[in-house]
Every structure is written in C-alpha cells, then in structure tokens.
Symmetry: C2
Subunit: 340 residues, 2 copies
C-alpha cells in the first residue's frame, strides 16, 4: 500500500507538501506541485480516507436513515438523494430502519462527525430526546418528509394533498367518500397518512358531509391489508362511491378489492391514491402527485449546501408542490346515493 510518505520520498519533498498538493493549497510552487503530481501518478497513490478522516475530524460520508422496506415512495426519494450525491465527494451510507429500536440506535450512534458528516432522515419524525441530541450534535441534519423543532425539513403539504383528493371527488359529485390509511399509532410514527386524513375530514366537513365511522379504515401500510380493509367496506349494503387511499400502494389494494368484488372502476367506485409512484401511471390511477425524486434531491442538496457553508441550516421548511393527476380511476358516481 503506497502512502503519502512514499510519494513524498519519490518527489523529494516532505509529506506536508504532498498533503498540500492533495488539498490544493495555494501555497505550493508550480514546479513542486508538478513533481508531486507526477509522483502520485507514477505510484498510483490514493489517500487513505480513514487516515484523512481521523486527522480532519470528518469522514466524507453522509448517512441516510430510511425506512427502506416499509414505503414504496422511500425508494424513489432515495434515488433523488443518490442522484444529488453522485457528483459530490461524499459517500452515502445507508441505514435501514424497521423498528423504533433500530431507529433510535441509529440516531444515537450517528450524531458524531466521525460517523457521518451529515444526516438525512427520511419519513421518520425523531422522538424529542433524539431530536435534542441531533440538533445539538453539530452534525448537520435534514429531515425529509417529517418535521422536528429546530431542524430543517423538506416536506409535503399532506393536509393540502388530502384536500385536493377529496375536493376532486366532491367535484365529481361524490358524497359517500371513504378514507383508507395507516394506523394512527404506527410504531415509527409516520405522519403523512394522518395528515392526509385530516385534509380529507376537513374538506368533507366544509362540504357539509358527515364522515361515517365505517368509512374510515386504518391498517399497516401493505397492499394486501388495504385490499382486505376495502373488501370489508365494499361488503356493506350501502357502500361508499369513492375511496381516497393515503398512498398509491394502498390504492392498488383498493383496486384489487374492487375488482374482486366485481365492481368496475370508476363506474361503480372511484379511487384516488397519493404519491404517484411508477406503478400508478401504469395502473391508470388518479392520484395526488408529489415529487418524490425531486424531494430527495432537494434534501440532499440542502445538506451539501450546509456542509459547504460549514454552518447549520436553520429550522427552514422547504415545501414542494403537489399536483392532482387525473387518470382513469375516478368519475362521477353512477347512482345518486341513498341519502339523495
């Protein structure tokens, strides 16, 4: 393994000078710089990142904490992060989170500059204790798709998204609109589903429509679960004419159940999802599009900026635009509801 000392010897200079060349310090004469570069070339020298990191107190690594398995949308966001980091000099370390223990473990261990120079936390609202530790750790943090006091965040206006979806169905003439989303007390504390539900409830209320208890269902974020929950809803004698699902994954489960129940979408049932993941365009799903890839990129860029500026970002909040994408799973209700 060729070290900086080898290069120094080969070039006939001191190790310090080689280091200066490596970190292109201006205070090196052109001639020595050339000599050093030549030696580096000849010896095929590459600096040891560990040694460099130990010496400088940082490790050229960005940690990305992500519930990699739970949400389909996380992958698309991660792609955006990867894209942004591609051109940077930082390596990306992936920390998967499936349980709160998992999460807190990462949060504690990662708040040190020798672990990661910056942290990007996806969809996970840090619990207060972790948040304090994170905020005061000196390691720049960006929250993506969650919020925390004192920490910058790239967020989606999920409440507004819920309104958008619901209003769309109302505009089509629906009055019995159901909602299907995550369990409110999901272990990792994902909040997007309940925010979307809030937008839904609010919009229903302003339209003077009551939400029947049986028209709101919750379950783990899995297609099969959404399918089963929907089956129950559709089995009732007077079923809703439209369902707003808190995510595309769940909306696909809804569609599956509708198909299984012999219903034609959108004639017998309208369905709206949320996210616009890749499958959705194929499935012809009407959905609230949020720029997943872009949000990942934006968050990563934010982190890079704060790293470059060597100063923490404030509590700034960056919000990306939502857009209703109308495809072929929504239409006016075929029959006027019994209440009419």
């Amino acid at each position: 393994m060729v070290t900086i000392a080898d290069v120094a010897a080969h070039a006939g200079v001191g190790a310090g000078t080689v280091s200066r060349v490596l970190n292109d310090s201006p205070q090196v004469s052109e001639s020595t710089r050339a000599r050093v570069l030549a030696a580096i070339e000849v010896l095929d020298y590459r600096p040891n990142p560990l040694a460099r990191g130990l010496s400088r107190g940082r490790c050229q690594t960005l940690g990305v904490v992500v519930p990699f398995f739970t949400h389909a949308s996380a992958v698309e966001r991660l792609r955006g992060v990867v894209a942004a980091l591609d051109k940077s000099l930082y390596d990306l370390v992936l920390f998967n989170v499936e349980s709160p223990v998992h999460r807190d473990e990462h949060f504690t261990t990662l708040t040190r500059r020798d672990r990661a120079d910056g942290l990007l936390i996806m969809s996970l609202p840090p619990p207060p204790a972790s948040l304090h530790r994170l905020a005061t750790s000196g390691v720049p943090i960006v929250l993506l798709d969650s919020r925390g006091a004192g920490v910058p965040a790239v967020v989606t206006d999920d409440v507004e998204g819920g309104r958008l979806a619901t209003r769309h169905l109302l505009d089509l003439g629906h009055e019995r609109i159901a909602f299907l989303g995550d369990e409110p007390g999901n272990p990792l504390g994902f909040t997007s589903s309940s925010a979307r539900e809030a937008g839904y409830r609010e919009t229903m209320e302003s339209a003077g429509l009551a939400v029947r208890p049986g028209d709101v269902r919750h379950g783990p974020h899995v297609r099969a679960v959404a399918r089963d929950l929907t089956r129950a809803m559709l089995a009732a004698p007077d079923r809703p004419t439209a369902i707003f699902a808190a995510s595309d994954t769940q909306a696909l489960g809804v569609l599956e159940a509708a198909r299984a129940a012999g219903l034609t979408v959108p004639r017998d049932l309208s369905v709206v999802g949320f996210d616009d993941v890749e499958v959705s365009s194929y499935a012809g799903l009407t959905t609230v599009r949020q720029p997943l890839f872009e949000s990942g990129r934006r968050a990563a860029e934010l982190l890079l900026e704060s790293l470059a500026a060597e100063e923490p970002l404030g509590e700034a909040e960056y919000q990306l635009d939502l857009e209703l994408v109308v495809r072929s799973t929504t239409a006016a209700p075929a029959t006027t509801p019994a209440a009419g």
Copy 2:
C-alpha cells in the same frame, strides 16, 4: 468528544485494557472489565470508527455497487442485501453506477481495504482489467447477477429462464413468438437479457420454429421504449401471437402497447415477462420469477461468511431457482397462425 483515554483514566486503567474490553479479549479480569464497562457507561463512550479502522486496517464497511436507476429488479435485490447486513456489524455504502466511467471509477477506488472490507457488485460484469485488479486486491468480492473469472457469483440461469418462458408459450400452442429485450451492446454490459434471448432462440429452434428477424426487437431498458418497439411489431399485418419480454418492466410496456392497439390480452396477444417484481402480481403478468430479494440476501451472506472466515471465496457459483408464474396474460392463441 470522549476518547478511550478518558475511559481509561476514569476506570483507573490503561488505554490498552479498555481496548481489550471493547474487543472482548479473554485476558481481562472480571473486576477490571466491570470497572471499564461502568466507565464506558458513565461517560457514554463510543469508539471512533475511523481510528479503529486506521489501526486495524479495515473499516467495517461493505461497498455495494449497483445500477440503482436502470433496473427495477436492482432495488429488490438491494433490499435483500440490506436485510442481510442489518444484523451484521458492517455499514453499507451505496455506490450508484450509471455509466462505464462511473463503474470503473468505483472498481478502481474500492479495491482497498480502507475503502470497504468487502464488495458486492450487482448486475455489472467487470471488464477484464478491473476483474484482475478486483481478484488480486485482497478485498473479498461477490458478484450478484453477473459472472467473472476467479470471483464467486450468485447468478440466475437466464438461459433456462428464457427456455421456461418460451416453452410455456409453445405449450399453449403459440408459434409466432416474439422477443423484446435490451440492446446487446448496452454500455454497462448487462447480460441477462441476451441470455434470456439465447434460451428463447434455442427453444424456438428445437421446436422447429423459425424466428423472423422482425420478431426480435431491442432497446434501452425502459418501459416507454418497450411500448414503442411493441407498437411497431403489432402494426405489421401478420403480428406475433405472443411476446416474451426480457423483464417485467419491458413486459409492462408491451401490455401498454397492446392495450393502445386495441388488443385484448391474453385473447389477442400473450405476454410473458421476467423477474416478478412487485408490480407484476398486480398487473396479473405471467412471468419467470427469480428470487430477487433472496439473491441479494444470499450474496451478502456469502460476503459476510468470507469476511468472517478471513479467506477469499473461490470461484464458486450459486444459482437460485427459477419458477414460471402463470397469471392472466397468457393463453392459447385465438386464431391459428397463417402458416397453419
């Protein structure tokens, strides 16, 4: 930042002893061990991984080189890798590859123990020069979904998969079976598509069926491209009665084109894909299932084993089983072909 020296001072022992406790060396008395552990607890000490890595010559990190953007299947494989590494003590560094330059850069830079203790390379056949460098670098490597002389690999029998798909269509009575796959000269050298094509051609030949030139189409691995290529095929007056696509992504493009052309699947056209990614079950796609998640896990476990054994794996090849999953996009051809 609390260091090993602080712990040593607090416990009234030498730094070496603390280190021994950390790496649970047997040669520490129970009493001192307890004292040291207490000090660690009180001071909330965590070893600096950089320093540890520098000293020991490895960094507790595994590099995963993956064409993250190009193939949907890569994500599912990556999930398997993440799952396997979750319980290990290794961090996962993600290296995205989109171009050959990208790829070679990673291959050169990652063949050092101070970068990664092991390397998992997904779907990328290393060029000979890189391969030599990799094989002799001393860094354990596992290839996933590609092969290389002297390097262990977890692979899929793509040729057999191609046979499976084609035979299924033949068994249903099809004779005009088309193939749609990646460009043979794709820049990163993915080989799965052409292997699947080989299985297809071989099976057609043994069945005594000629493959018409226009019945084999190639293009970049993108759904929209597959759709357009299919449109061209279906526009011809005597079109094939079945299409075998080299991946589910491409098969979805085929389905889209069929729908756009007003054809009913499987009545007017049978479609078989490859991979069985998550979407496929939703789309009801008949496909050749390969255990993507499982392959990722297997490859990662292999790497961990070789790391634990501190000896390089041989050129062993690990092959996972394929399985034809018949869903609703294949059926007997409606009309007997013109040749009949």
